[in-house]
Amino acid sequence: DVKVTQSSRYLVKRTGEKVFLECVQDMDHENMFWYRQDPGLGLRLIYFSYDVKMKEKGDIPEGYSVSREKKERFSLILESASTNQTSMYLCASNLHGTSGGGALNFGPGTRLTVL
């Protein structure tokens, strides 16, 4: 089974802090994704990466950046945290993108609270 791990389950940060969320997958997947989940809004795509050093904006990239220096690791960076970035952050990976309906494999999530 693919394992996707996230560095923290819970984080509390202050407004204006720079925040790093780390994600690691162990199945040599090409594609990695960052989503946020908010009540009533479902899962929304922030950024994704289809190869090392490659990244693409998702639907809500404002206030975020990403880094993929190694295939197994995909980091989400909040440049200056704000209270409206309080959310559940979910990392996911898969092998073939949407080809053949390839399912996403999600990590356990990081619940971030910005005070």
Partner: protein
């Protein structure tokens, strides 16, 4: 504009009965549809998918039905069990060669013992 909609935020069902979760979409170019289940404080787990060229896919207690003309899909769980209590998300994928999955807002299912 929400391309994938789950209009029922919650649903309660008695144990042993059928649970039916619904999902509507607007983009006729979606080529796969997936259902995920999510427990609190955990990441979503993949349940079942269906290709746009099929109208039914079954896996154990879970069956997904697709009505392309109505742009509607549904997930049936029979029989429902208390462990099925979770939030269910439907998702649609854009055609091959892209990486985008569009998720609905979720339906919270509660199975009553």
């Amino acid at each position: 504009d929400q391309q994938v909609k789950q209009n029922s935020p919650s649903l309660s069902v008695q144990e042993g009965r059928i649970s039916i979760l619904n999902c509507d979409y607007t983009n006729s170019m979606f080529d796969y549809f997936l259902w995920y289940k999510k427990y609190p404080a955990e990441g979503p787990t993949f349940l079942i998918s269906i290709s746009s060229i099929k109208d039914k896919n079954e896996d154990g207690r879970f069956t997904v039905f697709l009505n392309k003309s109505a742009k509607h899909l549904s997930l049936h769980i029979v029989p429902s069990q208390p462990g099925d209590s979770a939030v269910y998300f439907c998702a649609a994928s854009e055609p091959s060669g892209t990486y985008k999955y569009i998720f609905g807002t979720g339906t919270r299912l509660k199975v009553l013992a």
